[in-house]
Each structure stands twice: as C-alpha cells, then as structure tokens.
C-alpha cells in the first residue's frame, strides 16, 4: 500500500507494523522478470504494448516491468502513469491531496494497455483506472499486472499477471516498497 493511500485511508493514518516479510527485493525482481515474459507470451511479442503504472504504488513497479521488457525484447516499450483519484467511487471519503501526475501518450487507440499496480485488493482502484483510461481513447485491450493479489475483491475484476498470490485477513495491510513486500497491521 502506497504511503499516500495509507495516510489517507480511514481512520486516517496510524503506523504500519509489519509481522512478516513475504517477498524480498530479489523475489520481486524475479517476479517482474517472469511477468515480463508472460506479457510477451500472452501478446505474442511486445508490439503496441503500453505499460501504465497507477499512482503512486504502481509507478515504480511499472518502470521495472518496462525495463525487463526492454531487456528481453531489445526495443523501447511505451509507458505512462495514471492517477485515478478523481475517478474513484469513494471520493469524499478521503481528504483532498494534490492529485499525482497523470502522463499518457497522446494516442492510446488500438494499443494493448497493461495496468500495473502494487496490491490488488477490492478492485475499486482498477475499476476507476478502467474508467479513466477509456477517457483517453479506445485501447484494443486492457490487461492487469499486480505485484500482490491479496483477495477480498468487491468487483468482478481479476489480474492477468500476478507477482504473488497472498491470502490475507481483511484487517491486515500489505506494504509494498522497493525493499520487498511486508504483511502487517495498522496501529493507531
């Protein structure tokens, strides 16, 4: 969970207390490389692929995925980032913070967009992202890559590429940083 979301989510902050490290830095790097191969396999190459990291937790992972794809394919891969804050359905349940940067190519029509986020939980962020992307154009298809799928979906959304399946309790918190993935709880 990104720093921004953690501080904003009701009951508004608290301290993250980790109970277990579930992925190391190396585990994450390996998962990224595997997901890159899966993206290429699924799409028979990397033609017209656009990698979109969701602000703020997905951006770094998207960057790493782009690097991995470029190494494998030996060509440039298009990428962008997207903040879905204004497309969320729980707007008004959070305090106002300046929206993070959205930067997408001018033309996304006909592209295969791969949305990248750190943790897939209720699916509401992804719903908002689908809504936002459709405001930019009509991609050929949209796929979803996440580092951690922690379950508890509230919408019919499933990921195409998963770093790690992590069964969790609903009150637990998953924290993804560059150091690795931790499971823990929020303490006031």
């Amino acid at each position: 969970m990104a720093d921004r979301e953690r501080r904003m989510t009701p009951p508004f902050g608290g301290v993250f207390v980790a109970s277990a490290r579930v992925m190391s830095r190396d585990d994450m790097a390996r998962a990224i490389r595997r997901m890159a191969h899966e993206v290429i396999e699924r799409n028979q190459g990397s033609e017209d692929i656009l990698i979109v990291g969701l602000q703020t937790g997905g951006v770094k992972i998207a960057e790493n995925l782009v690097k991995a794809l470029e190494e494998i394919e030996e060509r440039g891969i298009e990428s962008g980032c997207l903040d879905v804050a204004l497309h969320r359905d729980d707007i008004g349940l959070r305090p106002v913070v300046p929206e993070a940067v959205t930067k997408l190519p001018d033309l996304i029509d006909g592209k295969t967009v791969v949305i990248v986020d750190d943790v897939l939980f209720t699916g509401r962020t992804i719903r908002a992202a689908l809504d936002a992307i459709c405001h930019f154009g009509r991609p050929r298809s949209i796929q979803l890559a996440v580092m951690v799928d922690r379950g508890h979906r509230e919408l019919p959304i499933r990921p195409d590429y998963i770093g790690k399946n992590l069964p969790t309790r609903i009150d637990e918190v998953v924290d993804v940083t560059e150091e690795g993935v931790d499971l823990g709880v929020m303490r006031k």
Binding site: D83, I91, G92, P95, P98, T102, G137
Partner: protein
C-alpha cells in the same frame, strides 16, 4: 511532495475571500490546479469527481468569464449546474435575497457561487444556507478566485512569486480584484506597488501591505509584472478622474510605456478590457501579455476550488473560514 495529511490545509467550507487564507492554503490550491489543468488537455476533459453534486451560480451582477469558467469547471468535474441570474428572476417581483437563497438551496445546491454588488453579501448568504459559498465578486470587497488564478498564472510563468515586483495600475478604489490580489500576491512573497491617481486609491490605503505611486512612468521600469485594472465607471459616484482621455494619457499602457517595461516583464488584465482606456490594442497582443493564459487558467483553478470545497471528507471540514 511533503504534505502533512494529519493537519489538512484546506478544511474550509467556504471561500469568501483571500483575507484569512494562509499561504499554505493558497499554495495547496495552486498545486491542485496543476493537476486539474492536465485534465483539460485530455481527449475527454471530464472526470466524475463531483458526480451527483450540484453547483448553483447565483449572479446578481453581470459576468462573462467568471460565470462561464465556473460553469465549465463544474461540468468538467461532472457536477450538475443550477443557474440563477438576477435579471430573469423573481427578484423583479420583489423577492428578498434571503428567500432567493433559500429557494436555490432547497433545490439541492451543494455550493453557491455568489456575485453581488454589495460587499459582504456572500458572507451573509453563508449564514443562511448549509451549502458552501464561493465569493465570485462582492462589490468593491473581494474576488478571491480571480486573485488565485492570477497567482497561478504568474507562478506558471516564473515558478514563484517570491521577490517579484508587481505593479497594480488603475482603479484600485473600486476594484475587488486589486484587494484580493494585494493580499494574495504579498502572501506569496511578492512586493506590490499600487499605481493610481489619488482619487482612485481607497481611503484605508496606509493599512495595506503595499507601496504607492501616483506616476506610472516613475515605477514602470522596475516592474516584473504590470497588472492593469478595468476603469469601473459604473461604480463611480462622481468625477474621480477629469476625463477618461486624461486617465489614459497618465495611466494607460501604450506602446511608449510598453518599451519602458522590462523585456521579461508580464502584462496582466482581469478582463473585461476597456481597449483604448487602460490598455491599447497593440499592447494586448504584446508577447509579454499573459491575459489569455489568465482566462485559460481560470477553469483549472476553479475546478481545484470546487473540488476542495465539495470533494473532501467531512471530518476534514471546519465550519468557517
């Protein structure tokens, strides 16, 4: 971005003026505006952020850009809009201001954007309704969103207002824009000089955080930005200037004065321009003029303001500014 979420910065329910607004609050609005400007460039420049909320524009005085930009800001945020104009309303049948406000509120308005020729009206309105109130200009008092969009436009050009020397020229006495801008510019660290004939300066001028000059030619070469005000002839009670021609000769921005203005200075005007009075047609299209940027930025800035008042968690809202 270092934002202390524990002590939120814009918890206000209303935006009644720049007075009482802190520098941090102003800077947060300007930062939000950057993000909303990006939405304006999208193929579909619309986000569902305020879906289901109702914005009422309640204008007892004429307006083109303030009203249009508030309404397009509301549309870009997917809010619904109620439009009230004094001219075509039951005011002409003798309905009181308070009744009018209560009627509009009972149609479900979440925010009232109020313009009135009497100073203090938005504040009164805010006492009569549960909705948020935005001051869109009240008499000679304040016009906060204009000041904020001017700050944003200057910041866009220069990165920061800190240390800038800004001259505000013209009918200061009758200008709510000048009042709000003096407060906003100096709050952001700019040095403000008011330039006007003595008759067009307000009586309380010595309490303002400004320098004053009565001769534009004396100070124009020191300005980083030259902000021209409209001659508000409709608010003049008696002859405060001998004639418009004389005013134009001494305080109008013409080609000669334009040459005295530093090469990298900026020219602003809140509109509507009296072409040929405070500014000549040639100067309006001078490359240093950022008057059109002001208009464009008005929509993004007002999106930020609407979103801040309506799109936030209620526990983060204080009652009063």
């Amino acid at each position: 971005m270092s934002l202390d979420i524990e002590t939120p910065l814009i918890p206000n329910k209303h935006l009644l003026g720049i007075e009482g607004t802190t520098r941090d609050q102003i800077e947060l609005i300007l930062e939000l505006t950057d993000r909303f400007a990006e939405i304006g460039k999208r193929p579909i420049p619309k986000v569902p952020a305020l879906r289901g909320r109702t914005v009422a524009s309640v204008f007892f005085e004429d307006s083109t850009r303030t009203r249009l930009s508030f309404e397009s800001a509301a549309r870009r945020l997917s809010a619904d809009i109620l439009t009230f104009s004094a001219g075509s309303s039951s005011l002409s049948k003798g309905e009181s201001l308070r009744d009018t406000v209560e009627v509009i509120t009972s149609y479900g308005a979440d925010v009232l954007i109020v313009r009135h020729k009497m100073a203090g009206t938005p504040k009164r309105v805010s006492e009569w309704t549960d909705a948020s109130v935005i001051n869109a200009g009240d008499g000679c008092h304040e016009h906060p969103t204009q000041a904020l969009l001017d700050c944003y436009t200057l910041k866009q050009q220069r990165g920061s207002l800190d240390g800038m020397s800004i001259g505000i020229v013209g009918d200061i006495r009758h200008s709510r824009v000048a009042r709000s801008n003096v407060l906003a510019f100096s709050s952001l660290g700019a040095k403000v000089t008011l330039i006007a004939p003595k008759t067009l300066l307000p009586p309380s001028i010595e309490r303002w955080p400004v320098d004053v000059s009565n001769v534009l030619d004396d100070v124009i070469s020191d300005l980083d930005a030259c902000y021209l005000l409209r001659m508000q002839s409709e608010r003049h009670s008696k002859g405060l200037v001998p004639s418009l021609r004389e005013y134009t000769k001494d305080f109008g921005l013409n080609e000669r004065r334009c040459k005295m203005l530093p090469k990298d200075a900026l020219i602003l005007h809140p509109g509507p321009k009296n072409q040929g009075v405070e500014i000549t047609a040639e100067v309006s299209i001078d490359p240093r003029s950022i008057i059109l940027d002001q208009v464009t930025n008005g929509v993004s800035l007002r999106m930020a303001v609407l979103f801040m008042l309506l799109g936030q968690h209620e526990t983060y809202q204080k009652d009063e500014l």
